[in-house]
Symmetry: C2
């Protein structure tokens, strides 16, 4: 018996990938409704749930209860929280737990957590029996609008982040917006940087809407659901057009080249800088650099900075606590990330708000001069 009443506010985004298409449901109460949503879609009757020590104590019990109500047999594995979990050390027990639960073709693996749990669990699901069904229940704003959509999974290597993994699309994403109420302000803001990013890539109206409605988005309710749905749809559109990142998908990296360099410069110390904060500063820098290259107006860069500052995100390198390495070192990190060919870099630049594009001939020397200016020693 399906006794799930669709809440008025619930939204559905379809990710269109042929026989790998799937739904993202966005709304309140979706963890409690997970049993119904999964039972109506899954042929099998078994799942393995992987979560972490932060999320598990709060949401594992209601999820397991919801699954049990619909007679879905579930086992769970609780891993340590944090980026270090994205490693072979934790991938191995994740795979063995899935196999131990005898998850087969019609059963599923569930990731309950933020980006780390989603990436690791998706990778495990992607390699057990050469690909098992996979359900994402993202519990951070960042995971709901970014990492849970698009099928990129993986772990880190001593050689760098996300270097080992597979493309493995989920079969269903349940974005329960209630869980966002328990995020810290800082964590919510960091996720918000990616929401704003979708406006800056190619949705100027959405960016303008965010400028007016960001407080409502932060408070929860319909505006928050709307912002998440627009973000998921934006990412879904890009992923549908370029599943394996051969071209267009690179636009999703707006702000990320500078952002990654800053994350590396702060040694991924979340006390100093989290991913979304690096992206916020990076997006402002990308707009300022585009202005410097005479591509975009200075007003647009100012507007981007003003909005991100209004929501409480950092927008300048000197807002990062502690000292940063000199511009030359930041440039090295960018060159490692991006690969310089004949002194030229590929970069996401913009002609204005909502007019981002992939530039593959950006002179490395110009980027270095710009960084020296923004970050004088």
């Amino acid at each position: 018996m399906n006794n799930h009443v669709m809440p008025a506010a619930e939204r559905k985004v379809r990710v269109d990938l042929g026989d790998r298409s799937y739904d993202i449901l966005i709304g309140p109460g979706l963890i409690a409704a997970a049993g119904n949503e999964i039972a109506s879609r899954l042929k099998g009757r078994k799942v393995a749930v992987i979560t972490d020590e932060n999320v598990g104590p709060r949401y594992l019990e209601p999820l397991m209860a919801s699954l049990k109500q619909r007679d879905i047999e579930a086992v769970s594995l609780v891993l340590p929280a944090g980026e270090k979990t994205k490693s072979f050390e934790h991938l191995i027990p994740a795979c063995e737990a899935i196999l131990g639960a005898r998850i087969e073709r019609n059963d599923a693996v569930i990731a309950l957590g933020g980006g780390v749990i989603g990436d690791l669990t998706g990778f495990a699901a992607g390699i057990v029996r050469r690909g098992s069904r996979f359900i994402q229940i993202p519990t951070s704003l960042l995971a709901q609008v970014d990492s849970s959509v698009g099928g990129k999974t993986g772990i880190n290597s001593p050689h760098g982040k996300n270097l080992i993994g597979v493309f493995h699309q989920p079969d269903l994403v349940l974005a329960d917006t209630d869980v966002l109420d328990t995020l810290s302000e800082r964590e919510f803001r960091a996720g918000y940087a990616e929401v704003a990013k979708y406006g800056l890539i190619d949705k100027p109206d959405f960016f303008a809407w965010l400028e007016k409605n960001w407080q409502a988005v932060f408070s929860g309710g319909a505006a928050r659901i709307e912002a998440i749905a627009v973000s998921c749809q934006a990412k879904a559109d890009v992923v549908a057009a370029d599943e394996r990142e051969n071209g267009l998908r690179a636009l999703l990296n707006l702000g990320h080249t500078f952002g990654h360099a800053l994350e590396a410069a702060t040694e991924y110390d979340s006390a100093r800088l989290v991913h979304g904060e690096g992206v916020a500063i990076g997006m402002v820098l990308a707009h300022q650099f585009s202005t410097r290259m005479n591509l975009a107006s200075a007003d647009d860069a100012t507007r981007v900075e003003a909005h991100l500052r209004a929501v409480g995100l950092p927008t300048r390198m000197d807002e990062i606590p502690g000292s940063l390495p000199p511009a030359e070192k930041l440039m090295d990190a960018i060159a490692q990330d991006k690969k310089v060919k004949g002194g030229k870099l590929t970069f996401i630049l913009t002609r204005g708000i909502g007019q981002s594009f992939v530039a593959d001939d950006v002179p490395a020397s110009e980027v270095l001069n710009f960084l020296r200016e923004k970050h004088p020693q």
Copy 2:
């Protein structure tokens, strides 16, 4: 400068998989010609070669020399030989070696070895940077006609063989037929079981040709190349029709259900039974069982047994050294492998030589009775 002269006997099989299509080259001297073949196909200029302690001492040096001649930068990793290498323990250093060599999008990972090295290396190539280019240089007959074609990669888990892996097609397969001269007679015969299998699946003329020409195939030269090329083409056709094993590809398991049960019953002890020997006995059993089910004539089963015995392969369970567990235990292993639904099993049966088919309603009780008859206690 491309100074590779195509030997008269060299054969090429194309595996048709859309944008994942690739060539299998079959012939003498292909390790020495690897540099030319790879240079003419690869945009990049770097490779990581993974091999094992049996194959490395013999073929790594000529391969590296051939690569160097064409200015392809190569690093190598030598892993222990044997089935135990198909584990996370060895996958991790394989991935790190590939990353350490800075193999990027246009570069490639090379597997130089038998099925174990091919499966492990293909898996590593499949997950480094979410999929790197991959070249197979199979050095056993089994690997040349079976495991190097089709894109199945993976490692073993304590829960079972090949349970963790990905589908990752190679970009090129170089089957150097000279290397087969150094295989032991027993190893060559074991690979030959899979060659005969392609005849038994759906190529009765090929099986008849093998009955006449098997001695020439064992001696080397044109007949051997022909047999390998026909086998690769046969597998390529099945894989092209069913890349991810949703149906037809199951035919490749002819003889494997009984074979796997016997491998498990002998605890994968290669002194008692190697995979190809299990498949040989399994194919004879599959034909005899098909006769018992009134599907095929007894003459066909007799003909299959006679040919495999002629080449020196075991064809009966009582030829396996040491004692086997009772029929009931063998049946348990089959049921674990195949999953019984309502007392019925999926099995590859046959209506005669070259007329195999997937039967999904074989009564488990009939299989058990048959095993009791063939293996009385």
